[in-house]
Symmetry: D3
């Protein structure tokens, strides 16, 4: 039994609250357990100067100082930079950048992922939530006529998996969706990003206290696949609900 009673292959309670920031082009509050992230997708006034073909999607990731205890610092560090690069790559994998061009030219979107409460898995929650904010922004731009084609090729979602101690069992086991208390004791820690249509798009696994073998990797990927399938279902439901509300 895990510290919070979950099964090894069980996600924490997961929710998506689309439109959480009313004034944003696309937005969502994503929660997985106590981890909560505000994701907003905004259109940049100008595409980046180096862009020569298609549109662009980038991401920024930050944590409010009050999201952790003891209080975090506001300045981005190397970890934040690394995470936002991962989020950006993951979201771009979901988008056909060639179609992110409309009658007025290329479109550049920035997806901001601001963690308001942190209990492990913030980067994967940011990807899963960021996808929804991005899809909502794209729809808004289609309604406004800024985009004519639909650039969303696939949903993208992410989850953490790891090998952590199971205190009751006096052993370690692979498990899905690590909370902070698990992550901080993990022997292996792995973030997995998948496309709804197309399999793995990012895998980042780290042996925190030595190496790990390929059967362990394989077991972690099984867990991740099953968890991400549920996240895709949650994303589809949230997007469908918004679409229905828009129709009414």
């Amino acid at each position: 039994m895990r510290h919070d009673g979950r099964a090894l292959d069980q996600l924490r309670p997961f929710s998506l609250e689309p439109g959480f920031i009313g004034s944003a082009l696309g937005s969502v509050l994503v929660a997985t357990g106590r981890t909560r992230v505000i994701c907003t997708a905004s259109r940049e006034a100008k595409p980046p100067g180096w862009l020569t073909q298609g549109g662009w999607v980038t991401a920024e990731y930050a944590m409010l100082p009050g999201a952790v205890r003891p209080r975090g610092r506001r300045e981005p560090d190397g970890r934040a930079k690394e995470i936002q690069r991962l989020i950006g790559r993951s979201l771009r994998a979901a988008i056909d950048l060639e179609k992110l061009v409309g009658p007025q030219g290329p479109v550049a979107l920035t997806v901001d992922c601001d963690v308001i409460e942190a209990d492990g898995g913030t980067r994967t929650a940011a990807i899963t939530g960021g996808m929804v904010a991005l899809a909502l922004a794209v729809r808004a731009l289609q309604r406004e006529g800024v985009l004519t084609a639909d650039p969303v090729r696939s949903l993208v979602a992410a989850v953490s998996v790891g090998v952590c101690p199971l205190p009751a069992a006096g052993a370690e086991a692979p498990m899905l969706d690590l909370a902070y208390v698990e992550d901080s004791q993990a022997v292996v820690d792995c973030n997995v990003v998948m496309l709804e249509r197309g399999g793995l798009v990012e895998i980042q696994g780290t042996g925190e206290r030595g190496g790990f073998d390929r059967p362990t990797l394989s077991r972690m990927l099984d867990l991740a696949e099953s968890g991400i399938a549920s996240l895709f279902a949650g994303q589809r439901a949230a997007l469908a609900k918004v679409a229905e509300q828009a129709r009414l």
Copy 2:
């Protein structure tokens, strides 16, 4: 009639959601109209080195990039620095810093005010909400035995007032609690901070399109006093509700 149907002396819908960030020492989500700010109060591991007597309270203010449209930039600018200095001074006026010392020594608290949606009046909402987060953090430290005396001398709250065009009337009039659309056309713009016990603690008035006379200043202060009285009532109600829940 104002753009949103309010009377000249009417606040926007105001709410406080204490405990919004469960892991924080003290927290609140404050909303005034569409303006929403997450306020968290955290204890610093160490008081600042220059502190020679009593404890300390400081504030940081930032706006999530997605809180405005077009998207804001993440780096703090001069405006943000100026605002957080105002918030810090206002909150310190509410606290007896000599009593912010406990058996383990002086206590330093940082109140983070992160605007998640901005529609005018973010700095005054941050002060009003920051006061609640601060009071909740102080109570928690009292429960933990870190503080023995109650350092809260008075509540502090703030509101904006201004002289703005009234399109329907073809005239300008002093009015309370400016929304962004009002603030951006204001002829005079004034932020007022008051102590529940003790009157004015900060007044910052600016003529945006030339000067203003003292009767206008006086009328704006009348409006501010009446609005802030309502905010004090809201703060007291929120704090009482939390206290009651803690007792149950």
Copy 3:
């Protein structure tokens, strides 16, 4: 009696030395008591990129490290940023930006206010002196044909007022033009900026040790109005003298 023998409503010795920096477009050394500020107004090679209509005036404020004891640091801090924003707003209130456009296009002026010795009231001295440097720069541009209309709508000047202890009297009293020793003990501290034609343009009042009431505010504004009237006279005299010398 105040520490330096002044009456409560008495300014410190005030002087303006126009043309202090011979090579600058407009310049002045302003002194109020021991506080001295070099103000220079310079034309920027290019107006800021975001300017769409009219010209622009901005200000920078800094303190030489040797202006205070112990020595100050050279890097600008939040306080300096806040002060230069105040100076910039105050100077722009004096100028019709629409007329800051000449045959060659819009004109952008930067007024640098560098405090060489600090004894309280540096920001208000910078505004009062900056106005003179700005007016001299505008005249120079008119002579050079860069400007054809006169963009100066009104003089602007500023002074500090406050409620401070009167040691001899064992009481506190509102007083005009605080020296550092007064400012550092002030119970209320207020900076007032006025237009020669048009009344108040900025008021920033702070209760340093609790709140203050509206009659106190009113008494402080009386003092400020009377002090600023003398500063306007000093500005007019300095500008008239320069104009006369130019004629000779």
Copy 4:
């Protein structure tokens, strides 16, 4: 056939030149194809302040501006930060930090990896070379009596693998040790870090143009394992040669 005639499972010519920087505690010039990295391991005067137990190993990664064409910029960017975090984690996995403490206390080592010529695979070369510099520095500290135990638990080495186009075949195939021209066209890109005793320690795989499936991942890991086995042999040979020279 690959662009340079290599087989799919063939490394580029690999060499290690230990002691390349004579004055450094430990150093090596590592070359894999045209990619060359100077790795030096230095002892910090003081361990980091937050260290409470054991010693510490950290890494810095940079590229000389002339290592790429067009010339790179000297300032580290997010990519460099991400890479040096990866190198640091990988090297720490090779070390028993508890044993990085000697009679004089904990020891902190910094491994600098400066790319002097870049043709793909710079981060993996930095890990493989950094391990050798680190081992040499540890030996030097043992000789000096600064360390008494041997903290090296295992060698660590790294290689890139990917799925890239094979122009001649009109197809894509998994291949080992990507040169820049391959990396820039890769469909999947994966960096693998392994411990000589203990299997995988880091795996970072990215689908650059959509997702990839688990059999592809498995094939890439086969290639990586075989390539890294050769790198371990190279590291052992270089260390043995230095040891022999020291004996003579």
Copy 5:
């Protein structure tokens, strides 16, 4: 004849106004022609952490934005850093750092050189003026009992020399104390720093449009020696006058 009628070996009008910043420990306004620099010498609260023996003297150099036309930028650049290193070295050559230690321990002084108007020769004026500010600060510390010995070994002063076009003569010639208009056309530019007791302490010569020969260097050094002799006389006179006033 030079542009301003000076002989080749003639200094510009030179003056020192000691005590220009009344509140500073030591200060002077140095003027050479239109170049004017405020020099203040301040005692740092703490000596630098790396200091193991004796006291320390350092310098900072900056130019007010309004000192040049077009307006300069406030941020220090490489040139400013280079100049302040030169000033610091020169002033330290004048001081016996071993004697910059008093009953309370080592003393660290910072000499700030802020150029308020620039017309060539700002770095040499800063050295010559900085020496006077430093000597005045040392005397003040001796009066206060912070220092017991006199650490001033010698005066130090500096001047520029160069080879510049002489338009009237249609030729180039070595000349003393270059104004900006000369410096900007110089073929050779050389700054010379000398100790009253001890000869050359810094020489920095640059061929601006090709090389120069040793006889030219020798002629420039002759000019510099003669000019610096006059500067030493000015420094002695200024210091003597202050000493006399202190006695009265």
Copy 6:
């Protein structure tokens, strides 16, 4: 006898390895004793915006952290900025910037000098090596047709000289090409840069422990001239060898 057995007028072993960075436009590894510097010359994509006439050459100088012991810091400091300004000026003296313009317009070259091992004389080695990298880059641009004229007017080279203690003799003496152990004890330290055609182009002499007289300066210049003559020979030989290889 010097610490390494050299005569007072003897250079350390000097070598140039042109083409050390195969992918760079021009490159060399320069070694003088244990001091080694990688110099690469690269063409900037765009000339600097302020350039109005001719091309441009600039330099950057840095030291790898592992080049010194204890380990250096990666961030450039004032010393590095000062050195790279010196290198840039020296290299520009060797070039006719008017001829650094080709059919496609002006050409901007950056010469990066990265010290990989430091034992004194790094800045002079950087100039001597940078000249070779620059000349090779210019030739490459001529071959590519980017330049049609040859902008190299002269070779430039540099060496350090100084007055240092001679322990065996119990005296100090002027000597050529200081190693670190000499430089750190030098009484006078002087860097001399000369043009093959045209004499001195930079001289920077510093009395490290008081002043020095003109005969000493003269003796140091004699030593520098003789040492630089050897460096010119080495540069010519290296360039000739590369030219010959290109012909074969």
